[in-house]
């Protein structure tokens, strides 16, 4: 049984006038110990997907259909308390914005204990402080007393991110969701944080979903990748395979576009813009920007085809009896 399985998830956002059709039949699986990457441009629905899994969508967001199976239980069908419990004790999340994730007016200690009160409600309260210290040491913040007595602004960006990881670990017994965990951090600090996350995930036997638009980071940290475009998963592949031989036109153009260290060959970029979610393109959502698009792409949504073991691609070029090559 998979630890987490998302099936055919559809999510809309509503404003006063419009409905934004964001997630379009998204399916994904994470098994025990899996390190999964989720890549795509900003606005492709990566964060929405994570938030839908935890059901922390903003009030405008609505899960229209689909299933989110957590250890076999559909989280969309159970009580709020059940989901809250999963969020507090089983799944940890590292958010995108390291400044926003900590409340500036409370000391780290108060915020940390607040989290532990929920995540470790079965422990005695007096244990919580030593638990917090232990977690801080595990993220390489040895001076725990000073960190706990600090306000967030008194810590450097790297230290804040370590604190956030420690807090996420408190509630992550099974799965860690990391949403762009190193944005706004310097390259050398980013490297330290990534190594730390990598080590912790292995040491604690966690599964992980890493969301990022930095392809290199995903290449380094995961062994399986989902590629998202405009709210759909267009390709799924083992990480090494994906970067060496991408199948979906979007994936290959995306990888081509990234400036490389090894060569001065610049990709063409992808023409056009991501679609307007109010009026998403019919058929394959990528067809208006795809150089290989044919008639069928405009009309029929490409099925998810298993092209080889563990490799799925949603493109008509790979489905039988249709499309070009």
């Amino acid at each position: 049984m998979n630890l987490l399985e998302v099936r055919n998830l559809r999510v809309n956002y509503r404003s006063y006038w419009y409905t934004y059709h964001v997630l379009n039949d998204v399916s994904l699986q994470v098994s025990q110990g899996d390190k999964v990457g989720l890549i795509g441009e900003s606005g492709s629905g990566k964060t929405t997907l994570l938030k839908s899994i935890l059901q922390i969508l903003p009030p405008q967001g609505r899960i229209v259909s689909g299933e989110v199976l957590w250890k076999g239980t559909d989280l969309l069908k159970v009580s709020k308390d059940y989901v809250t419990n999963v969020r507090r004790k089983e799944v940890g999340m590292i958010f995108q914005d390291p400044l926003g994730a900590l409340n500036p007016v409370f000391k780290v200690k108060e915020q940390f204990l607040d989290i532990l009160r929920h995540s470790h409600s079965d422990h005695d309260k007096s244990d919580h402080l030593s638990l917090a210290e232990e977690l801080l040491r595990s993220v390489m913040l040895p001076d725990t007393a000073r960190v706990l007595e600090s306000y967030p602004f008194q810590l450097s960006g790297g230290m804040r991110q370590r604190v956030i990881i420690a807090m996420a670990l408190a509630s992550a017994r099974d799965l860690l969701l990391a949403d762009e965990p190193t944005t706004n951090l310097d390259v050398t600090i980013q490297d330290q944080i990534l190594r730390l996350i990598g080590e912790l995930v292995v040491k604690r036997g966690l599964s992980m979903i890493l969301v990022s638009h930095a392809l290199g980071m995903v290449a380094k940290m995961t062994h399986r990748v989902y590629v998202m475009y405009a709210g759909s998963i267009v390709e799924e592949a083992p990480t090494l395979k994906l970067f060496s031989e991408p199948l979906h036109p979007y994936t290959s153009m995306l990888i081509e576009s990234a400036p490389r260290l090894a060569s001065t060959r610049l990709g063409e970029g992808i023409k056009g813009n991501p679609p307007d979610y109010r009026y998403p393109p019919s058929g394959c959502r990528f067809h208006p920007r795809c150089p290989y698009a044919t008639g069928i792409c405009k009309e029929v949504r490409p099925p998810n085809v298993e092209v080889s073991k563990h490799r799925y691609v949603a493109c008509h070029m790979y489905s039988e009896g249709a499309g070009g090559g």
């Binding site: 450097s156 050398t188 490297d191 638009h213 392809l215 490389r260 063409e268």
Partner: protein, 336 residues
């Protein structure tokens, strides 16, 4: 500033476009004196792309803003085509302002959110003469098509177009005054990869067609690899290493440079191979208020020696075409 007078002539060189000599910029804050830029010397010739690379607090952006005249230097000399430009932007003559333009990191904030693309470009075109409305309009359309924007963007506001397109508008706006030198302040770091390559290609095209020189401020070595001809690595207000791009990626020499390169998550094995012997990143970037003594990198350097803690390393030429490293490990080479 007086100290600089004597070697002024030798620095002028063949035809330096920009010369920065012993530039220092300190900021007074409530916590103490921030030494953002602390004695930086380099020069640029016409038509080249020089990349100033560093992490936050390295002083790369401050250097660029001093060149722009957003700040005045605390000490040192900034010469553009032989003229001292260490003066605030308000005091610069229009002809000088026109020569030097800047493209900012985040086009969402560098374009006025209340104006349409046409209005943004029109005010830029108007700066150098009102002209006839029709002519102005023609210029705007030419600029837009030159950077690869279609006419349909004309009446859109920045919030209504994509990030890459916004940055192209910012580029078109800079080009409106026909500059000879453009400072690119992290021009692609707010963009998605697909938009990024479009902007980089346009930058290369502009340089090819118009011979514009670029000073590229960035932390992204992938971008450096693709558009820069020379690289300067900065750390805490000082220069660590300077080399041509090929030389730099072929033989990164300063321990900090090596750490920086090792920290980049490589996407493919091909990229992995170009990275140097791994120096694992450790420690935090110290504060520019109390920078470490001697070599500023010694607190994080795995090879730090006694001399590094005490004396600041001078520049050593490690061969190649002016490959310069400020590091005591290379003291067997000739001093620059």
């Amino acid at each position: 500033m007086m100290v600089m007078q004597d070697d002024d002539d030798s620095s002028r060189g063949s035809e330096a476009l920009l010369t920065v000599r012993n530039l220092k910029k300190y900021f007074r804050t409530s916590k103490g004196l921030v030494r953002a830029v602390d004695g930086v010397t380099f020069s640029m010739s016409t038509g080249e792309t020089l990349a100033l690379v560093g992490e936050s607090g390295s002083g790369k952006t401050t250097t660029a803003h001093v060149i722009m005249g957003f700040y005045t230097p605390t000490e040192g000399l900034v010469m553009y085509k032989g003229i001292n430009i260490g003066i605030p932007i308000e005091k610069r003559p229009l002809s000088l302002k026109r020569e030097i333009q800047i493209v900012f990191q985040d086009p969402a904030t560098s374009l006025n959110p209340k104006k349409t693309v046409k209005d943004i470009l029109e005010t830029a075109v108007k700066v150098y003469g009102e002209g006839v409305k029709l002519e102005r309009f023609k210029t705007i359309l030419e600029l837009m098509s030159y950077v690869g924007l279609s006419e349909e963007h004309l009446f859109k506001r920045p919030t209504e177009i994509g990030g890459g397109e916004k940055q192209l508008v910012a580029l078109a706006r800079a080009l409106a005054v026909n500059p000879a030198f453009i400072i690119l302040d992290e021009p692609t770091s707010a963009l998605d990869v697909s938009a990024q390559s479009k902007v980089l290609r346009t930058l290369l095209k502009i340089q090819r067609d118009r011979g514009v020189s670029y000073l590229l401020i960035t932390h992204d070595l992938g971008v450096v690899r693709n558009i820069a001809s020379r690289v300067i690595i900065m750390y805490l207000g000082k220069i660590c290493e300077e080399a041509s791009t090929d030389e730099f990626f072929g033989r990164p020499t300063h321990p900090y440079t090596q750490m920086l390169l090792s920290s980049i998550p490589a996407m493919t094995e091909e990229d992995e191979r170009i990275l140097p012997t791994r120096i694992e990143s450790r420690g935090e970037i110290p504060s520019a208020i109390n920078p470490p003594s001697g070599c500023r990198f010694h607190t994080r350097c795995p090879y730090a020696m006694e001399v590094c803690r005490k004396e600041e390393p001078p520049a050593f030429n490690v061969g190649g075409s002016s490959h310069i490293v400020n590091c005591w490990l290379h003291s067997s080479n000739t001093r620059v």
